[in-house]
């Protein structure tokens, strides 16, 4: 085969594979970051976030001016051939967000936070229904966004999930032997706030989360693997094939 054919075949093939691997957790991350921005700043500008969602829907376009992108997104019907494919309800959520922006990329009505929280609620009830029983939607979204995606989160053991967001204290403990942190982002959940033994409940909550996130991942995000047991068997055989042993203890 000639070189040009090899390049062409691989570009087409990897575009297909990339589209399969763009999951809906990107939407959850998007809306949690909007709420984070609104809580953090007085009158935030959403040009950066608009670029993010545009790159998800139309990944191979070369537009960079955010004003043009905002105009184009408002007119378009949010259908994408090569990027993330949205359902009808999700398109409504996105267009709700786009309509609430003015020309400068800021919110028209500054008391709109509750609407976005409702959107995040419904998204998480759909995709992370099992883990929502244990934890509030906003904190779940924060967990996913700080790790960088559900693909990374589902692999983590419970002890790591317990300490997400407390990395600085954790590494200080390892290097300088200070006191070990007991909780990270989980700390703001209602269960831990109202309990007397906070370290203990944080451990229990993280244990339950580690199980439920795996359930959600294999039920909703990768629907090829419906049954949890078959999925686990597949994982084990995959790692046995690759001889995955810890190098150093």
């Amino acid at each position: 085969m000639e070189n040009a054919q090899i390049v062409k075949w691989n570009i087409e093939q990897s575009k297909k594979e990339i589209q399969k691997n763009l999951l809906k957790d990107n939407l959850i991350i998007f809306f949690t970051r909007i709420i984070e921005d609104l809580n953090k700043y007085r009158d935030p500008n959403f040009y950066g976030r608009i670029k993010e969602i545009y790159c998800l829907l139309y990944p191979y376009s070369n537009k960079e001016n955010p004003k043009e992108i905002l105009d184009e997104l408002k007119k378009s019907d949010l259908k994408s051939k090569e990027g993330l494919i949205l359902e009808i309800q999700e398109k409504k959520y996105l267009s709700k967000f786009l309509d609430s922006l003015n020309k400068e990329g800021k919110l028209k009505d500054k008391k709109n936070i509750k609407e976005f929280e409702k959107i995040l609620d419904s998204l998480i009830k759909k995709y992370l229904s099992n883990s929502n029983k244990n934890l509030e939607p906003y904190i779940l979204g924060k967990l996913i966004s700080s790790v960088g995606g559900i693909d990374n989160l589902y692999k983590m053991p419970s002890s790591t999930i317990q300490l997400i967001g407390a990395e600085k204290a954790m590494f200080r403990h390892i290097a300088k032997k200070r006191a070990c942190p007991k909780y990270g982002l989980i700390y703001y959940s209602n269960k831990i706030q109202h309990s007397k033994e906070k370290g203990k409940t944080a451990r229990q909550l993280a244990n339950k989360l580690a199980i439920s996130i795996k359930q959600d991942y294999f039920q909703k995000f990768r629907p090829m693997m419906r049954n949890l047991t078959t999925a686990a068997e597949g994982e084990i055989s995959y790692y046995e094939k690759q001889r995955m042993e810890p190098l150093y203890k």
Binding site: N3, A4, I6, V7, N10, I11, Q13, S14, I18, Y60
Partner: protein, 179 residues
């Protein structure tokens, strides 16, 4: 796209060149590049050779940028797959002979990935291996490098090595050959 300078602080290949390792390109090599990310180093190497560069990347966000880059150049081949999945790599490379294997995947099983990938290449192929000790363990980094050299000596022969200190902290760079 603009012409960017090759910065040793962002690229490990350039940092190794600054450390006087013998890794200059002749001009017509095929390169297998594991862990290409968004393609900052791949873009520079594509100028130096006329052969193909097979750039392997696993995360979708970075692979999108890599595909965008490949559409503007002639000799970059973007492959979206796990570097452990050697069967797919074999299929995507169409039996091209590879002259240089570069591996830059900071994870705990870095050596295993290198051993598996070395089945794809011939004996006289040059192997470049950049090691991040922090991703393997938080202990003393010089001792970890020593332990890893022991493991490398089972299957490979170490020709040159360097500490990439001022450019990258706690990183090592090896030039290897198959035994």
């Amino acid at each position: 796209m603009k012409n960017k300078e090759w910065n040793p602080y962002t690229s490990k290949w350039k940092a190794a060149l600054r450390k006087n390792l013998d890794i200059n390109l002749k001009g017509n090599e095929n390169v297998l590049y594991l862990g290409a990310s968004s393609g900052t180093t791949v873009e520079q190497i594509s100028k130096l050779t006329t052969g193909l560069i097979f750039a392997v990347e696993n995360s979708p966000q970075m692979a999108i940028r890599l595909v965008k880059l490949a559409e503007t150049k002639i000799n970059i081949v973007p492959i979206f797959s796990d570097a452990r999945n050697t069967e797919y790599l074999k299929k995507a490379m169409f039996n091209k002979k590879i002259d240089i294997l570069f591996q830059d995947i900071p994870s705990t099983d870095q050596i295993r990935i290198l051993e598996d990938a070395s089945k794809l290449i011939d004996k006289n192929c040059k192997i470049l291996f950049s090691l991040k000790t922090q991703s393997i363990s938080q202990q003393d980094y010089k001792e970890i490098a020593r332990q890893i050299e022991k493991e490398l000596n089972k299957n490979f022969q170490i020709i040159q090595k360097a500490d990439l200190y001022p450019f990258h902290k706690k990183h090592f760079f090896y030039v290897l050959e198959k035994k």
